[in-house]
């Protein structure tokens, strides 16, 4: 880049302003989480995290992510394959439908599920008569999490696969590979970093989802409370130390997400 040597004074001011903004808006808030979580020492920190309700919230959050992330990875690959490798009628509409969950308020995401599976919902009477309860159970949390993160993997893969084109795959087929061999030996290695990156983003969103989950979970302590809901409960109980201890686990995941993202982008470029 031509401006590398001998930056102008103006450039230095702009760089300084950027760092100032990043410090005030990003670094200080992040530092505050860990500072407040550890304010009363490591012992208090661990005893706050090891409280049964918080522990259960951590467990529920992890289990939800373990179910949702693989499902949305498979579906994301299928969607990206469909959209980038074939042309068909309604393609634009399909892409718009995939994107909708990311554009809508998480509260709306929760509500649409309530009106499908809730007692006054479309399938409510049917579910009630067969004795099935979906709303306010961990299953509902899994379902809304699938909804809110549906676009994430496809969104990473579609531009990547468009740019890569189909030459490698066509070559594999012409050399006698069958569909699965082509997919496992050519497609998957080509898109692996994009796929991992999509999974990392999906995971971060699933673990952190608040609005949609708060509508469908019922927030029953020790039963259907995920970590973000637990933070809200502890905060409303004026248990600030407990809230920050729980928040620090999610903040740690956020930091790991950022580091992974940065690393994956570097690997992808190679």
């Amino acid at each position: 880049m031509s401006q590398t040597a001998g930056r102008s004074a103006g450039a230095n001011v702009l760089i300084g302003l950027s760092f100032l903004f990043a410090a005030v808006a990003l670094v200080v808030p992040l530092a505050l989480i860990f500072s407040f979580a550890l304010r009363e020492g490591l012992g208090a920190y661990f005893s706050a995290i090891l409280k049964p309700d918080t522990l259960h919230a951590i467990l529920l959050t992890v289990v939800t992510a373990v179910i949702v992330v693989p499902i949305n990875m498979v579906v994301g690959v299928a969607l990206a394959w469909l959209v980038t490798r074939f042309k068909f009628r309604g393609q634009q509409l399909l892409i718009a439908v995939i994107e909708l969950p990311a554009a809508v308020s998480p509260i709306v995401a929760g509500i649409v599920y309530l009106f499908l599976y809730g007692n006054q919902g479309l399938l409510g009477p049917l579910l009630q008569s067969s004795g099935l309860q979906i709303m306010f159970t961990p299953l509902a949390i899994v379902m809304v999490s699938l909804f809110v993160t549906a676009p994430y993997v496809a969104r990473e893969l579609v531009p990547l696969m468009r740019q890569q084109g189909t030459d490698d795959e066509e070559a594999a087929l012409s050399l006698g590979a069958n569909g699965w061999q082509m997919f496992c030996r050519v497609t998957l290695p080509n898109i692996r970093w994009g796929l991992v990156y999509g999974a990392v983003l999906t995971n971060a969103r699933v673990m952190g989802e608040f609005g949609a989950v708060s509508v469908v979970s019922g927030s029953i302590r020790g039963q259907t409370n995920t970590l973000p809901l637990q933070i809200n409960l502890l905060f409303n109980d004026f248990n600030i130390a407990g809230a920050f201890a729980a928040a620090s686990t999610l903040a740690l995941i956020a930091v790991i997400t950022l580091v992974l993202k940065s690393a994956l982008e570097t690997w992808e470029r190679r």
């Binding site: 880049m1 590398t4 450039a11 760092f19 903004f21 808006a25 990003l26 200080v28 992040l30 505050l32 989480i33 579906v75 299928a78 394959w81 469909l82 490798r85 074939f86 042309k87 068909f88 634009q92 718009a96 994107e99 909708l100 554009a103 809508v104 308020s105 998480p106 509260i107 709306v108 509500i111 649409v112 599920y113 009106f115 499908l116 479309l122 399938l123 379902m143 909804f147 549906a150 468009r162 189909t166 087929l173 569909g179 971060a204 952190g208 608040f210 609005g211 973000p228 809200n232 905060f235 809230a243 920050f244 928040a247 999610l250 995941i253 956020a254 930091v255 997400t257 950022l258 940065s262």
Partner: protein, 278 residues
């Protein structure tokens, strides 16, 4: 990419179409249809009465004006950050680049908790602001702060790739021909990044309209003053007023859908823009 691909040159059309349609129907379309049916079932006069009630109007006003201010802040700051990250090489650049995505990686509830603590009377920022008469927590300023934080990355990430593509030769040629730095920016760079910039602003605005987690912590949620639409929907649900919740959710859904259309049009504009230039 081959221009004329035969439809079945590559395998997996049936399988990927099957998975996609099954999943989209079950996870996205069916729940959406259930809500639309709920709204359709209440009749237009009832729907209109709910969405034009005074409390709803006040909630729109608070939500839209806060999102507007948050978007302006993020537009200016996003442009600055995108510019600095693409144009200069300096120590700490990669860390700054990675940090920008923090609001996407950090759960909104955590963001809300942090902001309300920072701006509390005794908080790190609050103790500097409150003596000067600036109260952030439980006012609209708090809502703006929460919306700003959660949508910081949108404009940066929209403008950054386009700015990287701007041909530096054009700029150098313009400068050789006697253009000032400011003229280069307004005549060459700004028109090129404009579609991406507007696209980023639209996404940022849409995200702010729908933001819930961060806002509920800091807003104080006073009806008419600091009550956002998402929260009003949540309150209606708590009151078992499902029609009220459905009607207001429909409004947010319609706005989100319009946003999607707008961003798609902007993306198409961007492509034509680039093609015209090359």
């Amino acid at each position: 990419m081959a221009q004329h691909r035969s439809k079945h040159l590559l395998p997996g059309f049936g399988l990927s179409m099957g998975i996609s349609l099954f999943y989209l129907t079950l996870v996205i379309l069916l729940p959406l249809a259930a809500m639309l049916l709920k709204v359709a079932g209440m009749g237009f006069p009832e729907f209109w009465r709910i969405i034009s009630s005074n409390r709803a109007l006040a909630a729109y006003r608070v939500t839209f004006s806060s999102a507007f201010f948050a978007t302006i802040i993020n537009g200016v700051v996003g442009l600055l950050l995108a510019w600095v990250l693409t144009r200069y090489r300096f120590p700490g650049r990669r860390i700054l680049d990675a940090l920008i995505d923090l609001p996407f990686a950090l759960p909104t509830a955590v963001a809300g908790l942090v902001l309300v603590t920072l701006f509390a009377e005794t908080g790190w920022y609050g103790q500097l602001l409150e003596p000067n008469g600036i109260k952030v927590n439980y006012t609209q300023l708090g809502i703006i702060a929460a919306m700003t934080f959660t949508s910081i990355p949108f404009v940066v990430r929209a403008v950054q790739p386009v700015l990287e593509e701007v041909d530096i030769d054009f700029e150098n040629a313009a400068i050789t021909l006697g253009a000032s730095r400011w003229q280069v920016f307004t005549r060459i760079i700004w028109p090129t990044i404009l579609p991406a910039f507007i696209g980023g602003c639209v996404l940022s605005f849409a995200r702010s309209l729908g933001e819930f987690g961060a806002v509920v912590f800091i807003a104080g949620n006073l009806p008419g003053l600091t009550e956002i639409v998402s929260l009003l929907i949540f309150i209606r649900l708590d009151e078992y007023n499902y029609e009220g919740a459905a009607a207001l959710a429909f409004v947010l859904l319609a706005v989100a859908f319009l946003t999607l259309i707008a961003t798609n049009l902007l993306a198409a504009w961007q492509v034509r823009y680039v093609e015209r230039k090359t």
